[in-house]
Symmetry: C2
Subunit: 227 residues, 2 copies
DNA sequence: TTTACTTGCATTGTATACAAAGATACTATT
DNA sequence: AATAGTATCTTTGTATACAATGCAAGTAAA
């Protein structure tokens, strides 16, 4: 099961087109501000305009596009302030998820998370600069903790709404060489807190981890703007 | 500007039907588990199936209905666990909003909030048992604090997604005679914390306020189940 | 009597066609 | 030359029609 397919069964054409467009946006093939012309999408993905429109509406629910009546849909474009807002909420909700996970995850699940990090360590040692897989590993780590919160609504808000936008920025910004190693160290401290069932510490560490992530993102965005 | 119309301009038929259905669900005219038959809705609200389907999709984005491919849409039905999950998230996000509001709201806005509570006090003294307007007042209070957080994403998540579901339960459960007075006292303490710019206390008080709200809701639901 | 299969019906998903709103380009006037 | 107004054209919103899926009722066999 890949994170790409979004763990959702696809039964209708609208679902399929939605998944395709979602990937295209997250990967940066469709960039912020780009227009989604319905007729053009029909020619690209097949089908008729009806399922295409449904797909666009689903993307709107995921906060990936903004629709304006009679003017069409465009890929969302965030100001720096809005990006900070998103990360502020993400900090709160993932901090919460981590706190709850410390109280509710099974010992086995925590052990499995520790094993996952060990695997990441060897991956980073071998594939220096293969940032794509490292990013996927990072997402997997966060995903498991969110699942560990055992709060279904929290899971939907984080995985179903916030994370699509977060992924959109993560995939597109380059990662510095030393960041994966630093992130791994932070992940390991979080797992230690989980294993110790120290909910307060686990929450604090997760919040800081995400703060660092935002700082990096802001720096990279400024560099790209400058170049 | 009424809370009912959801402060969103309505330019298309789909938007209009969505707003109508939203009200119907929040008011309990459509009850959890009820099916939304597209043809029936066409006969009730006019238009054709296309805008009706769009309206239903918008309701899905608000977490008010659940659609299953080839099986139709039904009003969401929450287990007690899921209701607790929702309030757990609400506690976190409104606590956050209150903390941020203590740091970011203008002095004028805080004063206006205090004035609003004074008005509520006289309303409660006069309209004993007129719980509808008291509930509207409560929503207005929470709404203003959320706006005060100055975090647009947080506002969208709370007002655009969580609150529709919360309202759905609030309108339908009766309120005890003494609860409005107790709630007002809690609101007043929160405003005092905001005025003192005590973010930590403001967050704590808001979290407790929502916890009380959940306890009341659980008690009422159990009573209704028993009867 | 129960169960499994088949057939018909109701409902949703999709395609095509038409209406209306917005954008653009051109012309006329100041 | 600049601007306002108008006409055309593109694009979205909506209606109607068809296809396909799922559900239910009814029948036949065990």
């Amino acid at each position: 099961m890949s994170l790409e397919t979004d763990f959702e069964a696809v039964h209708t054409l609208a679902d399929k087109v939605c998944a395709e467009l979602c990937m295209a946006i997250e990967r940066g093939e469709l960039r912020p501000g780009d227009k989604l012309n319905e007729q053009a999408l029909v020619e690209r993905y097949g089908g008729s305009r009806i399922p295409i429109r449904e797909a666009i509406q689903k993307l709107e629910a995921r906060h990936l596009v903004k629709r304006i009546p009679h003017a069409g849909a465009r890929v969302v474009k965030h100001t720096l302030k809005e990006l900070r807002d998103i990360y502020e909420v993400r900090q709160e909700l993932e901090g919460m998820a981590c706190r709850l996970a410390a109280q509710r995850m099974s010992d086995n699940a925590i052990q499995a998370l520790a094993d996952l990090l060990a695997a990441h360590a060897t991956t980073i040692a071998h594939d220096k600069g293969q940032s794509y897989y490292q990013k996927a590993g990072d997402l997997d780590f966060h995903y498991r903790i969110i699942q560990g919160s055992d709060n279904h609504r929290l899971q939907r808000m984080l995985c179903g709404e916030l994370y699509h936008v977060v992924r959109m920025y993560r995939y597109q910004t380059s990662t510095s060489k030393q960041r994966p190693l630093q992130a791994l160290a932070e992940h390991q401290r979080i797992v230690e807190a989980l294993a110790a069932r120290d909910a307060e510490l686990a929450e604090l560490l997760m919040r800081r981890h995400i703060q660092v992530s935002l700082n990096n993102l802001e720096r990279l965005m400024k560099e790209e703007l400058a170049s």
